[in-house]
Amino acid sequence: MNDDLDKLRQDLLGQVRKAESLEALDEVRVGALGKKGRLTQLMRTLGQLEPEARKAFGAALNRVKDEIADAIEQATGRLRAAEIERRLEAERVDVTLPVKPEPQGRIHPISQATDELVAIFGEMGFEVAEGPHIEDDFYNFTALNIPPEHPARQEHDTFYLPERRDRTRKVLRTHTSPVQIRTMLNRKPPLRIIVPGRTFRADHDATHSPMFHQVEGLVIDRSTHMGHLKGCLEEFCRAFFDIDDLPLRFRPSYFPFTEPSAEVDIGCSRAGGELKLGNYGDWLEILGSGMVHPKVLQNCGYDPAEYQGFAFGMGIERIAMLKWGIPDLRTFYDSDLRWLRHYGFVPLEVPSMVGGLSR
C-alpha cells in the first residue's frame, strides 16, 4: 500500500513538473485534489481500514496531499511569473517614438506686462480704470489743459474720425490720460488708479506704431506730493525690472496737464552697443509724470486748494522691450507665430508680487 502511495506521489509530482501552463496545472490539481481526484478518492477509502492502519495511512496520505498542494502552489507561482514574462516581452513598444504634439498656447508680452503692472501697482493700493478709445476732444485735450491752439496738440499726431453734424470730430485717444478726467468726474477723491490700454498716434516708423499701449497712473488726495511720486515710481521700476539698486532720475519737463512736471530716466549702460539696465551711470528715458495741474483738477470739479496728487504715463511696449530684450516695436502687432512663441508666456505664469512676476 505504501508503495502504491509513493508511486502515486511520484506520478503526481511528475505531472506537476510537466505542467507547462496554468490550465494544465489546474487539471493536475483537479486530478489529484478535486472532488474526484486520486488523493481525494484515497481519502474516502480510509473509513474502510482498521483504526491502526487508518491512522498510519491517513497520516501518510495527508503528508502526500500537502506535498502535492505545495508543489502545485510553487508551480503556479513559477508559471505565473513565466506568463507575465512572456506577456511583457510581447507588449514591448518603441519608447523612443515621439509623443503626440500638444498645442502650446501663449500670452502676448503686452498682456503679461500689463498683468505685472497691475500686480505691482495693486500692492500699492491702485485700482485699474478703463475708458473708451474713441474719445471726445474734451477728454483727450481740453479738460487736460490742452486748448485747441496749444502747441502741444501738434505733437500728438492725432487720428480723427469724420466731422459730425455739430462740426465736432471724435479722436482716437492719443494717451490714456482722458481716463483721468472720466474717473475724476465720476468719483470723489481720494483716488489711486492705473489705466492700462490702447492709444493711437498717426505715426509709423521704426520706433513708432500707430497703435501702442500706455499705462497711466493717478493719485489724488490731500497731501500726496512729488516726493511720493518719486517713491512710487522708484518702487515700481525696481520691482518691474527686478533690479534692486536701479537708479531713477527725475528731470524737469513740461506736460500741459501736470505742474510741476518731470520726465523720468532709469539707469543704464550702453557700453559696447548693448543696452543694459542698472546703476551704470548712463540714463534712459522711460516715462513722463508730474503733479496734476490745478486747472485739470478744476475741470473735474475738484478744488485744487483742497486736493492734489500726481499722474504719470508710460509705454507698455517700451518697458516690455526693455525688460525682455525685444528689439523691434513693430513686431508686437505682426502676429508672427514664431515671435509669439518666442516672446510669449505660458498661460499659467500669472504674475503676482508674492509669487513673483515673470521668469
Binding site: 498645442p103 475708458g131 487720428f159 498717426a202 500726496t224 512729488m226 510741476p260 502676429s335
Partner: protein, 797 residues
C-alpha cells in the same frame, strides 16, 4: 534749439566746463539731446604750407607738392588746380579717415611719385559741397595748428530740446539766463539803448486788425543807404554751426536776432513797398508769394501786412518775395512786432507752413523786448551794412503783461516735496527775473515779461523746485491706506484675464492687432460705417475702426501660413467698435483656427478644423468667464460672415453671448485666406454681471448609492436639433438624471430616408436607495415616451 558753447559764453560769464553746463541744463528741464564736438573728429587735420608745387613728370593735371606741416616736410601729390607754392591749406596725414568720403587715407604712389598724405577740399572735410579746389587758409594761420581751431570749428554744438512752455529759451540768451539762475555764472549785460533816429520814417504803419490782440505792437525803422552783401565770417560761422545757410548780411542779422535773442524780425526792401503798411485781417482769395518760393491762398482770420498793392507779408509767419531784400537793396524797413500766438498757430497750421518765426510767435514772445530787439538789429545793420536810421515808427503799444501770483512759500514743500528754505525760494525767483512783493502770509510774485507760461502757484513751485534740483527731492514711500491691498481689478476685469489665460491654456496663441483695418475688410464683418472711418489714416489699409477682431486674425493666420506655419490657432482679447460712443466699444475674446488640428503624426491623424472645435473654444471661454454654460441655448442664425449651415450663436435668455462656426467661404475668398477656417467671438461685456454674493458654495450632496447608466438610440427626423432630444431626456426626472451624453449620430443604411439615429447614455443617480430593476424599467419607459412626445423620435429597433 541749437547753440554753440562759445555763443552761450557770449551771454554767460562762467567758468563751468561743457560737461557741467550740459548736466545742469538737463536738470533745469532743458534736455540736451546731443553735443557735437567737431574739433574731436577734425583733430588730425592741421594747417600746412605748400613750400613748392612742381608739375608731375607723368601727369598734366597733377602737381608734386612739398608741404611744411610744422614738424617736418612731406611730399604730396595733389590734383587741385589751386595748389601752389606759398599757400596755406589743410593737411590730412596718412592713417586718417577723410570725413567727407569715409575713406582711410593710405600712403600711395601716384604715377610713380610717392604721396604721403593729402591736401583736402571743403567737401572732403565734410564742411560743404565745395570741391573745385583745396581749402585755402588765411596767411596768418599757424603751420601745424589744428585746422578746426583756426576755422573756429572747435566750438561744440549743443542741441537743446525746449519744451513748448519755455518760449524764452528759444534764444541763446534765455538759456544763459536759466543757467545763471542755477548758479552757473552770471548773465552778461546787453546793450539795448536807443539808436538816435535822424529822420522820420517815410513808411508808416497802421494797425487795422478787427481784434487789437492780433497785433498789439508794431515798431518800424527805415534805414537809408545800406550796402547788402555777404555777412562777416563770425556771423556766417555762427549760423552754419546751428545748421543755417548764410544768405546776406540783412537776412543773417534777422536770423541772428531770432536764434540769439528770440526776437524774430522782418526786413522789407523799402523801395519795393508801395505806400504805408497796414496790419489787417486777410481777405478771402488773397494770395502771397512767400520768401520760400511758394504761393499761399490766404483765409480770413490770418494777420497780414499789406501795402497799397496788397499782401506783402504774413504776420509772425513769413515774409513776401515781392518786398524781400536782395544784394541790390539800398533802403530797408525793419519790422519788430508782436503777433497773437493763437492766430499765428492757426495760420501756420492752415497753410501747413512751419517757420522759425511761427514757432516762436505761437509760443509767446517777450512783449518788452520788441523795442530792444529793434535797437540791437539797427546797430547790427549800421555796423555791417552802413546806412542812416530813421526814428522808430510806433504803432500800438506794449500790451499789459504784469500779473501777480500768490505763492505760499510752504507750497514748495507740500506740493514738490522739496525742503527749500524761504530765502532760497526768494533768491531763485529773483534770479529768474520774478518780482517779489510781500502780502501777509504769502509772497506776491510777478513773473518777468518773457515768462508768459507762468500762470499760477504750481508754476512758481516748479520754477523753484527745478532750480533747487529735482534730484534733491527725497523719495517718500507711497503708503497704502489699508494694511493689505484690495483687489486692483473689478470682477469684470478679472474675468477678462481669466478668459485670456483659459484660451491660451487650450493651445491658442494670443495676438494683439490694430484697432483699425481696411474698410473693405470691415464691411465684410458688418462694419465700414462712415462714422467709424479714420479721417486721416496713415495708410489706406488702416482706415476703418474694426467691427470685429476676426479679419485681423484671419489675415494674420494666412501670413503665418505663407511663412510656412500652417494650422494657426490665434486669439485676441480686445475691443471691437460698433459705433463711435463709449458703449459701442465692446470687449470681445475672439479666435480663429485655420487648417488642421495638428500636423501629421503617427499617433494622431488629426482632422481639418471644424465648427465644433470653435464651439468648444467658445464654451471654454464662457466657462472660464463663469457663464452658466449648461443653461445656454444654441441657435443656428449666425452673422453673415459665418457659414450659414455650420455656425451658431450661444445665447443666454435670448442675449447673444458668443458666436462660433466655420467662416463663410466667400468671406475667406475676399480676405485671400485659404480655409478651412473656424472662428469664435465671445462678447465679454454681454455676460451676466459677476454678483458679489456669498463665497460659500452650496452644500455638496454625495449619494452613497451606485449610479446606473442606460443607453437609448432614437430614430428622429434628420433636421431635428440634437439639443431638443438632449433637453427632453434631461427633463424626464431632474432629481434622477445626473447626465445625458450623446454618443452616436448615424445617418444612412438601415434608416428610412430623412431620418437619423441619435444614441444617448443616461446616467441615473439615486439619492435615497439603490434603484431596482423595476424602477429603472419604469424610468426607461417614461424617457422613451417623453422623448417621443418632444421630438417625434422612436426607439431604434
Amino acid at each position: 534749439m541749437k547753440l554753440t558753447l562759445r555763443w552761450l559764453q557770449e551771454h554767460l560769464e562762467t567758468t563751468a566746463s561743457l560737461d557741467e553746463i550740459v548736466a545742469r541744463l538737463v536738470m533745469l528741464g532743458l534736455e540736451v539731446e546731443s553735443v557735437v564736438d567737431r574739433a574731436k573728429a577734425l583733430a588730425p587735420f592741421t594747417v600746412a604750407r605748400v613750400v613748392s608745387a612742381e608739375p608731375h613728370p607723368d601727369a598734366d593735371r597733377l602737381r608734386v607738392c612739398v608741404v611744411d606741416i610744422g614738424r617736418e616736410r612731406v611730399q604730396v601729390v595733389c590734383g587741385a588746380p589751386n595748389a601752389r607754392a606759398g599757400m596755406k591749406g589743410v593737411f590730412a596725414p596718412v592713417g586718417t579717415t577723410i570725413p567727407g568720403t569715409g575713406l582711410l587715407l593710405k600712403k600711395g604712389v601716384i604715377r610713380g611719385v610717392e604721396s604721403n598724405g593729402m591736401l583736402v577740399s571743403e567737401r572732403e572735410m565734410g564742411l560743404s559741397d565745395e570741391h573745385t579746389g583745396i581749402i585755402e587758409l588765411p596767411e596768418d594761420a599757424p603751420v601745424g595748428a589744428p585746422f578746426a581751431q583756426v576755422m573756429g570749428l572747435d566750438d561744440p554744438v549743443l542741441d537743446v530740446k525746449v519744451t513748448p512752455n519755455r518760449a524764452d529759451c528759444l534764444g541763446v540768451r534765455g538759456i544763459a539766463r536759466d543757467l545763471a539762475a542755477a548758479g552757473l555764472g552770471t548773465l552778461k549785460p546787453l546793450r539795448t539803448d536807443p539808436v538816435p533816429g535822424e529822420f522820420k520814417s517815410p513808411i508808416g504803419v497802421h494797425l487795422a486788425a478787427m481784434d487789437e490782440r492780433a497785433c498789439p505792437l508794431f515798431l518800424g525803422r527805415y534805414i537809408r543807404g545800406v550796402r547788402n552783401g555777404p555777412s562777416p565770417k563770425w556771423l556766417q560761422d555762427r549760423l552754419r554751426a546751428i545748421g543755417l545757410r548764410p544768405i546776406s548780411a540783412l537776412v543773417d542779422i534777422t536770423n541772428l536776432l531770432t536764434f540769439d535773442l528770440n526776437r524774430p524780425l522782418h526786413v522789407f526792401d523799402a523801395d519795393k513797398v508801395d505806400g504805408d503798411l497796414v496790419v489787417r485781417e486777410a481777405r478771402k482769395g488773397e494770395r502771397l508769394l512767400a520768401l520760400n518760393g511758394k504761393t499761399y491762398e490766404l483765409e480770413e482770420g490770418m494777420t497780414v501786412i499789406a501795402d497799397s498793392r496788397g499782401v506783402e507779408s504774413l504776420g509772425g509767419v513769413i515774409g513776401g518775395e515781392a518786398t524781400g531784400c536782395t544784394m541790390e537793396t539800398t533802403n530797408v524797413f525793419l519790422e519788430a512786432a508782436l503777433f497773437d500766438p493763437v492766430r499765428t498757430a492757426l495760420t501756420g497750421r492752415q497753410l501747413n507752413l512751419q517757420t522759425d518765426a511761427r514757432y516762436r510767435f505761437e509760443r509767446g514772445l517777450d512783449p518788452e523786448f520788441v523795442r530792444p530787439g529793434l535797437e540791437i538789429a539797427t546797430r547790427l545793420v549800421l555796423e555791417l551794412c552802413g546806412g542812416t536810421p530813421s526814428e522808430v515808427y510806433t504803432a500800438g503799444a506794449v500790451p499789459e503783461w504784469r500779473r501777480t501770483i500768490a505763492l505760499r512759500p510752504d507750497r514748495v514743500r507740500t506740493l514738490a516735496g522739496a525742503e527749500v528754505p524761504e530765502p532760497e525760494t526768494r533768491r531763485i525767483l529773483a534770479t529768474l527775473g520774478f518780482g517779489i512783493g510781500e502780502a501777509g502770509t504769502h509772497l506776491a510774485v510777478t513773473p518777468p515779461p518773457w515768462r508768459g507760461d507762468v500762470e499760477g502757484e504750481a508754476d512758481l513751485v516748479e520754477e523753484v523746485a527745478r532750480v533747487w534740483g529735482y534730484d534733491r527731492i527725497p523719495a517718500v514711500p507711497l503708503v497704502r491706506e489699508t494694511p493689505l491691498p484690495k483687489p486692483a481689478l473689478s470682477p469684470a476685469q478679472r474675468r477678462v484675464g481669466t478668459v485670456r489665460r483659459a484660451l491660451a491654456a487650450r493651445g491658442l496663441v494670443e495676438a494683439v492687432t490694430f484697432s483699425f483695418m481696411p474698410a473693405g475688410q470691415a464691411a465684410l464683418f458688418g462694419g465700414g460705417k462712415p462714422e467709424l472711418a479714420i479721417a486721416n489714416p496713415i495708410s489706406s489699409d488702416l482706415d476703418a475702426m474694426r467691427p470685429s477682431i476676426l479679419p485681423n486674425l484671419l489675415v494674420a493666420a494666412q501670413r503665418n501660413a505663407d511663412r510656412g506655419i500652417p494650422n494657426a490657432a490665434l486669439f485676441e482679447v480686445g475691443p471691437q467698435y460698433e459705433d463711435d460712443t463709449p458703449e459701442g466699444q465692446r470687449e470681445v475674446a475672439a479666435g480663429v483656427r485655420v487648417g488642421r488640428t495638428g500636423p501629421k503624426h503617427w499617433a494622431d491623424a488629426g482632422s481639418p478644423v471644424d465648427v465644433f472645435l470653435a464651439k468648444a473654444d467658445a464654451l471654454a471661454a464662457l466657462a472660464a468667464a463663469g457663464a452658466p454654460v449648461d443653461n445656454l441655448q444654441v441657435t443656428a442664425d449666425p452673422p453673415a460672415w459665418y457659414h450659414p449651415g455650420r455656425a451658431g450663436i450661444l445665447r443666454l435668455g435670448g442675449k447673444k453671448l458668443a458666436v462660433f462656426g466655420e467662416l463663410h467661404p466667400a468671406v475667406l475668398l475676399k480676405l485671400d485666406v485659404k480655409g478651412p477656417a473656424v472662428a469664435f467671438e465671445v462678447f465679454l461685456d454681454a455676460l451676466p454681471p459677476v454678483k458679489a454674493k456669498t463665497r460659500a458654495r452650496p452644500l455638496l450632496k454625495m449619494s452613497p448609492f451606485q449610479p446606473v447608466e442606460r443607453d437609448f438610440a432614437f430614430v428622429v427626423d434628420a433636421q431635428l436639433p440634437a439639443e431638443n432630444l438632449l433637453r427632453a431626456a434631461r427633463g424626464v426626472d431632474r432629481n434622477l438624471v445626473a447626465e445625458v451624453r450623446l454618443f452616436d449620430v448615424y445617418h444612412g443604411k438601415g434608416l428610412p430616408e430623412g431620418k437619423k439615429s441619435l444614441a444617448i447614455t443616461v446616467v441615473l443617480q439615486p439619492e435615497t436607495a439603490t434603484l431596482t430593476d423595476e424602477q429603472i424599467d419604469a424610468f426607461s419607459r417614461k424617457l422613451v415616451a417623453q422623448v417621443a412626445k418632444a421630438t417625434g423620435g422612436e426607439l431604434r429597433a
